[in-house]
């Protein structure tokens, strides 16, 4: 505590708020991240499967989903936050705090992640899909045993990219009342003119991003052209 006081006296004064804001950011990141991952992966798969030369072409589903994703991608997050307030209120009951932030975060994150998943899956060699078909695999089999299986390293990479951009979104949500590191930096750093608080927030976010990127890169590397856990056959 003493050394924090010496390098960042203002942070030390508001340390309780600092810890609280980290926890809020973490909660926003965790919940909106998990929900966005599941929904984005699902939508990405749907887009790949139903596209014109996909394994189960369906122009109606493809175009509707494609347009929805484009629509939400086109709205800047800050405007999306405000735009979604009535919806958030009616579903979650409140539009402020961590609880109120998760829904808009999901809306902001899913379209981005969907596009990333779509791109990752479309890099799977169509020859592999053709081979799977020739062996009698059905739609579900091809999705799980070929698309998702072969795209793992790419999916890890796009998940990390999305997670990092999601951190950015949470701080923006903080600016409009969700709390978290963004709100902490604005209210206590900028608002009270305590620059040391801003520096610490930047440093902390930098460490988190570097860590995520590092883990992601290592995982992606270890899953390229091999599986992470190797089963040996005698």
């Amino acid at each position: 505590m003493e050394w924090i006081k010496s390098i960042a006296p203002n942070l030390a004064a508001y340390f309780k708020n600092f810890v609280e804001s980290i926890e809020q950011t973490y909660q926003m990141l965790f919940w909106s991240g998990i929900i966005s991952f599941v929904i984005g992966l699902f939508f990405g798969v749907i887009l790949i499967v139903t596209k014109k030369d996909g394994i189960k072409p369906n122009a109606v589903i493809f175009h509707i989903l494609d347009k929805i994703v484009s629509f939400f991608r086109a709205i800047p997050f800050l405007i999306l936050l405000i735009f979604l307030i009535p919806l958030t209120r009616s579903i979650v009951g409140t539009a402020i705090g961590v609880k109120g932030a998760i829904l808009p975060l999901v809306f902001g994150c899913v379209p981005f992640f969907t596009r990333q998943v779509q791109a990752a899956l479309s890099r799977v060699d169509p020859g592999k899909i053709e081979a799977a078909k020739s062996m009698g695999s059905g739609t579900i089999g091809i999705i799980f045993r070929v698309y998702l299986h072969e795209a793992v390293p790419d999916l890890i990479r796009v998940t990390v990219i999305t997670a990092i951009s999601l951190i950015g979104l949470t701080t923006m949500a903080g600016a409009v009342g969700a709390g978290g590191l963004g709100a902490f930096a604005i209210n206590f750093g900028q608002g009270l003119n305590h620059t040391d608080i801003i520096y610490v927030c930047v440093a902390l976010l930098l460490i988190v991003v570097l860590l995520l990127q590092g883990i992601g890169d290592a995982l992606a590397k270890n899953t390229t052209n091999k599986s992470l856990i190797r089963k040996k056959h005698k």
């Binding site: 020859g127 020739s134 062996m135 009698g136 299986h149 599986s227």
Partner: protein, 344 residues
């Protein structure tokens, strides 16, 4: 075994409608190795994809092993039925199409998993297949650790895992070096003899047809322009494109180029191409005629091919001497199972 009747497939592209496969009729017998040769764009790859409905035909009829796969005037396989039928039709590809994140074991086990087989059954079957392709020691390797020829062997094992009656090979040796090509072709031949599996081979290389096929169709612009026993086709090609393919696979094919470069002069006599059928290859016919008619034979090019049905020899030579004697010589040759073409 495989019946293809009046099969048609067109594609729409920017330049309009392209007839990829036009009115194709082919009958492939049980246990046969059947070749389909053509230049790129001839429609051969589309044709083989129609057989297991990777592409949907526009019209026609396909049946494999007694089961109707496609019939534009009747029932066509769909959904689960189609998937089950595909398990009886193996397929291998130019680019191998193995799963890069799966080991050799898991690649070969792909068609066996989720079919109600126990782990042990799958493991035994995979090992059996590995023995068949001679890669037992690569069981835990990933495709990125294998050579092209080894990858194709694994792809063959995978295609055979569910005991298909038919194996479709789409340019399976086109991405391989000559040694690997050789070994894959002999493996296919061995599988054909050992398992009695019917093999359909798509290729643009006549040497592939020459080495392992029983019968062949030559495709051009979506149509089958010539069809028959490989031996007959080689001994007596009819269409210009067939001749071109045969020349590409034989040293004697160099003749045209040599003539163009004026590397051969036939001023002293007649330049002839002689084709020796399987009944004539063994005979000492050349020394016999030079003794008998007193003519000189200058051999320019010669080649013997060992086809599945027998050996086939061809030779380009300049016959010189007395005009009458030369004529008599050629008549004699024509009467002793040798096909004579006077070139110049």
């Amino acid at each position: 075994m495989i019946q293809i009747k009046n099969l048609n497939k067109t594609f729409n592209n920017k330049n309009g409608v392209v007839d990829a496969v036009k009115n194709v009729n082919i009958d492939i017998k049980d246990g046969e190795i059947y070749g389909i040769i053509g230049y790129s764009g001839a429609g051969k790859s589309t044709l083989i994809r129609l057989l297991n409905l990777l592409e949907k035909p526009d019209s026609g009829y396909i049946s494999i092993n007694g089961q109707v796969i496609y019939d534009s005037e009747g029932k066509t396989l769909k959904g689960r039925e189609l998937n089950n039928a595909r398990k009886g039709i193996g397929m291998i590809f130019q680019s191998f199409n193995l799963l890069d994140r799966s080991t050799v074991f898991d690649n070969i086990a792909y068609p066996l998993k989720y079919t109600g087989k126990s782990k042990e059954e799958i493991s035994n079957r995979v090992k059996e297949l590995l023995e068949l392709i001679g890669l037992e020691d690569k069981i835990n390797f990933y495709p990125s650790q294998l050579s092209g020829g080894q990858k194709q062997r694994v792809a063959i094992a995978r295609a055979l895992a569910s005991n298909p009656k038919v194996l479709l090979s789409d340019e399976a040796t086109s991405a391989l070096d000559p040694d690997a090509t050789e070994s894959i072709l002999s493996l296919l031949k061995e599988l054909n003899e050992k398992l009695g599996i019917t093999i359909v081979i798509i290729t643009h290389e006549m040497s592939v047809i020459k080495q392992i096929c029983d019968r062949v169709s030559v495709m051009e612009d979506g149509e089958v322009v010539e069809e028959g026993d490989v031996y007959e086709i080689f001994a007596n090609p009819q269409k210009p494109i067939t001749k071109k393919f045969i020349n590409s696979a034989s040293p004697v094919g160099k003749l045209e180029q040599l003539l163009k470069e004026n590397a051969i002069s036939s001023d002293s006599g007649k330049l002839v191409k002689l084709t020796f059928g399987k009944d004539a290859v063994g005979d000492a016919i050349i020394s016999e005629i030079s003794r008998k008619f007193g003519v000189n034979l200058n051999i320019v090019l010669a080649n013997v091919d060992n086809l599945r049905e027998g050996t086939l020899g061809s030779m380009v030579a300049i016959v010189s001497g007395d005009d009458n004697k030369v004529k008599e010589t050629l008549d004699f040759l024509a009467n002793s199972n040798v096909r004579v073409e006077v070139i110049k």
